[in-house]
């Protein structure tokens, strides 16, 4: 647990250093995530301790959104002023995104597997 947490932080730290050092647009944790994936591929497997730690950390993933979410109180005025564009953009945009992604993937799987069968 302690070892895995340390490994996660080291990957994040290396990610942050790369992001800052090369002025990359990609946030540090995402680089850390990609590096960890590469490390797991090289190692050909996930250590048990790492699996336990990751599962524990991701189990209540949504809890981690709460402190930032409470930041809504700072933006109440803006949300009140622009409630119409924000609400319509979020609701309609999200429905469109789910629908278009699903249709694109379904269509591509059909194309792709038809080619594979032939």
């Amino acid at each position: 647990m302690l070892w895995s947490l340390t490994v996660l932080l080291v990957f994040q730290l290396v990610g942050e250093a790369i992001s800052l050092g090369f002025s990359l647009p990609v946030p540090g944790p995402v680089i850390g995530f990609a590096l960890l994936l590469v490390a797991l591929v090289i190692r050909r497997g996930v250590p048990e301790d790492m699996r336990t730690t990751a599962t524990g950390l991701l189990q209540h993933f949504s809890l981690l959104f709460v402190p930032a979410g409470v930041g809504v109180m700072v933006h109440l005025a803006r949300l009140r002023d622009e409630w119409l564009p924000i609400t319509v953009a979020v609701v309609l945009g999200t429905i469109l995104t789910i629908g278009c992604t699903a249709l694109a993937m379904k269509w591509l799987i059909r194309m792709f597997s038809a080619k594979g069968d032939a």
Partner: protein, 240 residues
């Protein structure tokens, strides 16, 4: 309140302990309700916790910054948690390789529709520039969306709120949209929820099936990776 109680309150309200403890207590209460309601998407614990905390802070006249001094310890975990997403992704690499063309294609379509529809609709309805820049990465997972927002000139904290509202909307709507479109492949259902509704979509997809959850995880990770490269690039190309 007796003077003694006031003294205790004055002391406790300035330590990080209170903000951290209250966050954990409120979230667990909200999660208990969510569980009792059989994971009904309308009772997602995040918006409920946020609403309760905002009311508590407003009533006690506590500034957000004071609260965040304590809650930042939870917030901090978003970084290592993002790195940890590589762990559930690893066992899916084989399946992912077989689906590589549909996944990449759907990712590009979904990512463009997510950002394009949000910015387009908000712009048509007269949103301000700050709101437009903050709403663009709304379908990307919170830590990365906030990073993107900061890089392109939005307000990270406003983005966090919009990401959260998007997550809740996606979790509520997904089932109806996907049933309407007659999508029955769980890989496709999970992937589209993950592209549109990030971490909250993953949690929801895992309740449907392992396959849906895994593909939602892949979708969130890839959306994060591609968005964090494409957004600043697009902004740079169109010159602010």
């Amino acid at each position: 309140m007796s003077p003694k109680l006031t003294d205790i309150w004055v002391y406790l309200s300035t330590t990080p302990l209170l903000g951290l403890t209250i966050t954990l207590l409120v979230y667990q209460g909200a999660f208990w309700i969510y569980k009792r309601a059989n994971f009904n998407p309308l009772l997602n614990p995040v918006p409920i916790s946020v609403a309760v905390l905002v009311i508590l802070l407003t009533v006690t006249d506590t500034p957000y910054q004071t609260y965040f001094d304590g809650a930042q310890f939870v917030h901090f975990l978003l970084g290592p948690a993002t790195v940890a997403l590589a762990v559930p992704l690893y066992p899916q690499l084989g399946k992912l390789r077989r689906y590589v063309i549909p996944v990449v294609g759907a990712l590009l379509v979904g990512g463009l529709v997510a950002a394009g529809s949000a910015v387009g609709i908000a712009w048509l309805l007269g949103a301000s520039d700050t709101t437009l820049l903050s709403i663009a990465p709304k379908s990307v997972t919170a830590p990365i969306a906030m990073g993107i927002s900061e890089k392109i000139g939005g307000l990270p904290s406003l983005t966090a709120v919009l990401v959260m509202v998007t997550g809740v909307t996606g979790v509520i709507c997904a089932k109806y949209v996907l049933n309407f479109l007659k999508i029955d492949d769980h890989a496709v259902r999970g992937f589209s929820i993950g592209v549109a509704a990030h971490g909250m979509g993953i949690a929801r997809a895992f309740q449907v099936s392992e396959e849906a959850g895994a593909f939602a995880g892949v979708a969130m990770a890839l959306t994060a990776l591609v968005s964090s490269i494409l957004f600043p690039l697009l902004l740079w190309m169109f010159g602010q």
